[in-house]
Amino acid sequence: MKTNGRKGALSAAVASPRPSSAPSAPSERPNPWAIACQQLKVAADLLDLDEGTRQTLGTPRKCLTVAVPVRMDGGKTRVFTGHRVQHSTTRGPAKGGIRYHPDVTLDEVKALAMWMTWKTSVMGLPYGGGKGGITCDPKSMSQGELERMTRRYTSEILPIIGPEKDIPAPDVNTNAQTMAWLMDTYSVNKGYTVPGVVTGKPIQIGGSLGRDKATARGLMYTVLYALKHLKLPATGLRVAIQGYGNAGYFAAKLMSELGFKIVACSTSKGGIYTTKGFDADAVNTHYQKTGSVTGWKGADAVTNEELLELDCDILLPCALEGQITARNAARVKARIVGEGANGPTTPEADQVLFENGKFVIPDILANAGGVTVSYFEWVQSLQSYFWTEREVNLRLRDLMERAFESVYSVHQERKLDMRTAAYLVAVGRVAEAHALRGLYP
């Protein structure tokens, strides 16, 4: 089924980049900053933005690169490189995670910060976009080394972060404990406790109820709204989920409660598939016990690649980026693809999915439940007044519905694919806010 001949503008343009001022890729791996700039250019063209606005939106407001010297357990000192980028603060304080990974580069952090600007904008949250990272291999580091690195990095970026300026959160290889160290370091330096400086904190020190399930819950809502518009009943639809971490497992659990049939899931070690559907909790128990979902009784083994091509109605890539590519996109059978992960679909694959009539719910919308409940956590931290989990969930649902409908109406009115429509909504809002605020001085 074709999507009524709608244009896959963003994916088509990114797949065949036009000349741009974006930096060229330094290696074979696509430069994320170049991709981000190209995506912005497509949206800016469709919105007919003036050159000044394009330059403003295409330039991070602040990039801070810091040396992070750490005394290692063996007594030697190692110096890591860290970054914190604030792409935009036009609609509010910068918001975005901090990742620890050997591949972290400034260009990657800049791109991720720009994508956060669009994510917070499409959700209508009063934030800009930011991101941070340290180039390191956290899996080879002890807890003590990670704590010292986090604390020193926090102290180096301390002048530019804060509840009114830039609010970090967990990302790749960082977690609630990392955020607790960050919050403590910031607070000790300020002289008083500042829970609003980070989100994704442990509940005991000001985290929000419902934060752990937020990404999955948001993803589930976007799928439900897609089904409603596509006039498909939820009951009995078959769902395949790549990834069984926080987003994947909770998506399986929440969606099976609504009558969906979860037929496949996977982790980095491989996956399982059964046409009968499986119990999300039983598989999770097996995963926690054995470190893998494979070997669970009553299901066949599948690879991560095979999972993407299974006969199912809804495919939820909730693992890594770049999973659906030009190589396998034509074999995706699902009618709906909900991007629980960031960037699971390459631009080339996006175009193929679009041409094959697949309804792709783009990452900046589909997985925005996480940052939305982060926003709720920040609000609660600022007020020192905490909500029930049900209250968090209902507010999340309402914001997801509002965001989905705003993107869907652009998708319908301008005959664009959902990803391009989401970018149009997001970039348009930031451009409008920029115009309203005006240029200082």
């Binding site: 939820a234 009995g236 409660e257 009558g259 029930t388 049900r390």
Partner: protein, 108 residues
């Protein structure tokens, strides 16, 4: 926080719902006979026809709301058009006249 569940159901679901509430140790329910039409009702002479329904009212603590909704959904079954609807309404307070307890303890 207290919430009132207002469920509009087909009369045949009343007994299973009573059993569900007893199993969950919910203190009570009110039942009102109702007539109504919705988007799935039969249409005669261009007008949707009134159908027999029951309106069930249950006041419970917010913590119990989601699981009770799931329970009602399970007994109503899914995919059956015209099964009914559930509304959740905030309740400012509750008072048990016999003991003068108020709030959560007045309903549990």
């Amino acid at each position: 926080m207290l919430r009132k569940i207002e469920a509009f159901l087909t009369p045949s679901k009343l007994e299973p719902l009573r059993e569900l509430l007893l199993k969950r140790q919910v203190e009570g329910m009110s039942v009102l006979q109702a007539q109504g039409w919705g988007t799935r009702s039969k249409v005669k002479n261009g007008k949707p026809q009134f159908e027999e329904r029951v309106k069930v009212e249950i006041v419970i603590d917010e913590d119990q709301v989601d699981s009770l909704i799931r329970g009602i959904q399970d007994l109503a079954g899914s995919g059956n058009l015209g099964s009914g609807k559930i509304f959740v309404i905030p309740v400012e307070d509750a008072v048990r006249l016999s003991t003068r307890e108020s709030g959560k303890s007045a309903v549990s």
